[in-house]
């Protein structure tokens, strides 16, 4: 079996009704876009991959990441990072504190600060370590959220319409930033979106999900 994120004959069910079926492989460094009307279960599919299905939903088939089945693993052990349209920064932690939350605890105390400062440099937020996240602009918050997730060293990336809340010019910047980081880290990436421009910028395969009957 090849590396990457594999949805192996995966069917998503809600209370005995099949919502959608997918069979696909997202290769490392590739972005696959899922497009379709709202309500077809795109976000729920992502929740199935992170292991956080709401009550009433179930799946059949397999979800494999780098040839390891994710089914049965708790979300904490799946190493699947996710970004939502809301930044979801923790309001009680500083910007640096948010990034540190993502950083694995195995990284020793003395190296943590340097790693976080380097991460801030990488997203153009040098010197923002002690800032209140609420005082950041929308684009800055989105960048912190991205970096926080990347610092947790995921093996795959899920994007749930992460650009839809941003202004048009900011959206373009953010897309480039996200996709370049994903490519650099060779992460298999699954993008859920309404916006054809997102899928186009992603440059990978596009799958159109049909509306459910």
């Amino acid at each position: 079996m090849p590396d990457g994120l594999r949805l192996d004959n995966l069917t998503l069910w809600r209370d005995g009704t099949a919502l959608l079926s997918l069979d696909l492989l997202v290769r490392p460094g590739e972005v696959t876009s899922l497009m379709g009307p709202s309500g077809v279960g795109k976000s729920t599919l992502l929740a199935a991959i992170t292991g956080q299905l709401p009550p009433g939903f179930s799946t059949k088939g397999d979800i494999r990441l780098n040839d390891r089945s994710l089914l049965g693993l708790p979300p904490q052990a799946r190493r699947v990072g996710i970004l939502f349209q809301d930044h979801l920064l923790f309001p009680h932690l500083s910007v640096g504190g948010n990034l540190a939350f993502g950083l694995a605890p195995t990284i020793p105390r003395r190296d943590r600060r340097a790693k976080i400062e380097a991460a801030l440099d990488a997203i153009g937020l040098t010197g923002f370590h002690d800032r209140d996240p609420e005082t950041l602009s929308g684009g800055q918050k989105a960048r912190v959220a991205l970096m926080r997730m990347l610092l947790s060293a995921p093996s795959a990336l899920l994007l749930d319409e992460p650009f839809s809340r941003l202004d048009t010019d900011l959206r373009d910047q953010m897309r480039r930033l996200v996709f370049s980081h994903a490519a650099e880290r060779r992460l298999p990436t699954l993008l859920v979106t309404h916006d054809a421009a997102d899928a186009e910028a992603a440059g990978g395969p596009v799958i159109h999900l049909p509306a459910t009957q």
């Binding site: 929740a47 923790f90 939350f101 993502g102 694995a104």
Partner: protein, 561 residues
């Protein structure tokens, strides 16, 4: 990781254990079984003695009458205020004053009212002698009247703020403003529109708290001791008198009366259910007729004036208490004292300190234990994806629906038989029964509305459930948790009967001391104690406001909370 359901099990035990054990103790003592007094039942002697007590009929009438009347008036005033004024600027202003009044202990509010309306009170002084001609306090039964009117007033001023705040929380869940808009667009007057479109949905959500008010008002002791009649007193006060008698055999009579009190409250709740059905049918018939009732200015005025009178009564009462606590000579009919002095604070201060310490010790212990249990329950339910059902809600309210005078005497006799009564720990357990429901009610909303996507994001980054709970959820919920603690502390500070009965008179808090002063009539001491009691209940609220502002001063994202 799944938490073992130990905390929910413990919570249910802490909630129901004392109530059920207490009821059992009351029942067995009522049936003449009290080994501590050398009595072995079963027998009906206690019920016989109760039956032969000449005051029985009037004390039963008083309990039933004042309890039902206080509940009806409180509910009507609350609904008039909401129907006529909710959403207006005047309403918000009124609410701003009413909310802090909620935490004023019942005893302090009752003393304040007493100082206002008694023959030598502020109102009589304001009107004398120019209007009334009184040079001396008139010989009128303005308080402790045999009908219990003053007692009803004392209950109403405390229960209206309670029902109002409970209602406001519920109104947000039923889309009240749009219901009102739709009905008003059809030509209904504001009050009529509100009663037809909002009230039924609201009442369904506040029904349990209304029943709590009914059960509480029927069996209240501290307010009845301060404002109610003495000869004979209401049934609950008489129960407490018998319980405090050195003759231990009288405790069986007290227990028989407690069972009667239990039956009375059950009867009143059954009658209330009947009245609900009648009212609902009448309401439906009226709504079908389609009268618009667009001339509702009078009704709105009545609602607003009642609300204003309540706020005024409690505020003036508190001012009166403060003034008496620092008054030098203050003779009738002077409106103000001749001078101010700190003598009564100096005289009572040293005696007050140990009571103050005991008050806070009990409140802190009960609140801390309650918080641990409540957060444990909420978190366990969250992880197991359970929600509080209607049945669970009844369970939560049960300790508040069973009259205190029904199960606390039994709890005392049980502890007496075990020879562990009069201890601080037992009092804390008794307080916990009343603190737990309020902690849960205060935390339920904030805990459930916390954005779970924060936890989802954290979990994908590898954070464990425990780490999410400790480093994300708890700190983000700091403000509501502290507010809930303040509510719990205020509930504990205000408790009279659990401290008195379970503490066996040995555990003295500001509340028991203040109520004990009622008979003596030393207004300066009453003023000082009632004021200290109010301050003890309000201080935690001030801290609950200040601490999150200080801790999160650099975190704007938490300021709205």
């Amino acid at each position: 990781m799944r938490l073992p359901p130990a905390l929910p099990a413990l919570t249910i035990l802490a909630l129901l254990g004392p109530v059920l054990a207490g009821l059992w103790g009351t029942l067995s003592a009522a049936l003449g079984h009290l080994p501590a007094a050398g009595l072995n039942g079963p027998s009906l002697i206690a019920f016989q003695a109760l039956w032969e007590w000449p005051g029985l009929a009037s004390s039963v009438r008083l309990s039933l009458g004042t309890g039902v009347l206080a509940t009806v008036i409180s509910l009507v005033v609350t609904m008039l205020l909401l129907a006529g004024w909710s959403g207006t600027r005047a309403f918000r202003a009124l609410l701003g004053v009413l909310s802090p009044l909620l935490s004023v202990p019942h005893a302090a509010a009752a003393f304040g009212l007493l100082f206002l309306i008694q023959p030598s009170g502020w109102i009589a002084r304001l009107l004398s002698p120019w209007l009334t001609g009184w040079q001396r306090p008139p010989d009128l039964l303005l308080v402790q009247d045999p009908m219990g009117v003053a007692m009803v007033l004392g209950l109403v001023v405390k229960e209206v703020p309670f029902l109002l705040l409970i209602s406001l929380a519920a109104l947000g869940q039923i889309d009240a403003s749009r219901r009102l808009q739709v009905a008003q667009a059809l030509g209904y007057g504001r009050v009529t529109a509100w009663i037809y479109s909002v009230f039924p949905a609201l009442y369904a959500r506040i029904r349990l708290p209304v029943l709590v008010v009914l059960a509480y008002s029927m069996s209240v002791v501290d307010v009845a001791v301060i404002l109610g009649p003495n000869t004979p007193p209401s049934l609950s006060v008489q129960i407490v008198r018998w319980m405090g008698d050195p003759d231990l055999t009288l405790r069986t009579v007290a227990s028989a009366a407690a069972m009667l009190q239990f039956g009375l409250v059950a009867l009143a709740i059954a009658l209330w259910f009947g009245a609900e059905v009648l009212l609902a049918q009448t309401g439906l018939r009226c709504a079908y007729r389609g009268r618009r009732g667009s001339h509702d200015r009078m009704v709105r005025a009545v609602g607003f004036v009642s609300g204003g009178v309540i706020v005024g009564a409690v505020l003036l009462g508190l001012i009166g208490l403060s003034l008496w606590s620092v008054a030098a000579r203050w003779s009738f009919p002077d409106v103000l004292p001749d001078g101010l002095s700190l003598r009564s604070w100096q005289r009572n201060g040293t005696a007050m300190l140990p009571s103050l310490a005991t008050t806070f010790t009990i409140a802190l212990a009960a609140t801390a234990a309650g918080l641990l249990l409540t957060l444990g329950c909420l978190e366990t339910e969250q992880r197991r994806q359970l929600t509080l059902t209607q049945k669970g809600l009844w369970l939560l309210y049960l300790p508040l629906l069973v009259p205190q005078t029904a199960f606390l005497p039994g709890m005392q006799t049980l502890l007496l038989n075990l020879d562990v009564d009069r201890s601080l720990g037992a009092v804390v357990l008794a307080h916990l029964v009343f603190v737990l429901p309020y902690l849960r009610l205060a935390l339920e909303g904030p805990y459930r509305t916390w954005d779970l996507r924060q936890a989802a994001v954290a979990a994908t980054m590898g954070a464990s459930d425990n780490r999410i709970f400790l480093t994300l959820r708890l700190p983000m919920l700091l403000a509501p948790i502290l507010t809930a603690c303040a509510v719990g502390m205020a509930v504990s500070v205000g408790q009279y009967l659990p401290t008195l009965l379970v503490g066996g008179g040995r555990v003295q808090t500001l509340t028991t001391e203040a109520v004990a002063l009622a008979a003596g009539g030393d207004r300066r001491a009453i003023g000082a104690y009632a004021l200290a009691q109010t301050a003890a209940a309000l201080l935690p609220f001030a801290l609950a406001l200040a601490v999150p502002m200080l801790v999160w001063r650099n975190r704007e994202g938490l300021h709205h909370a």
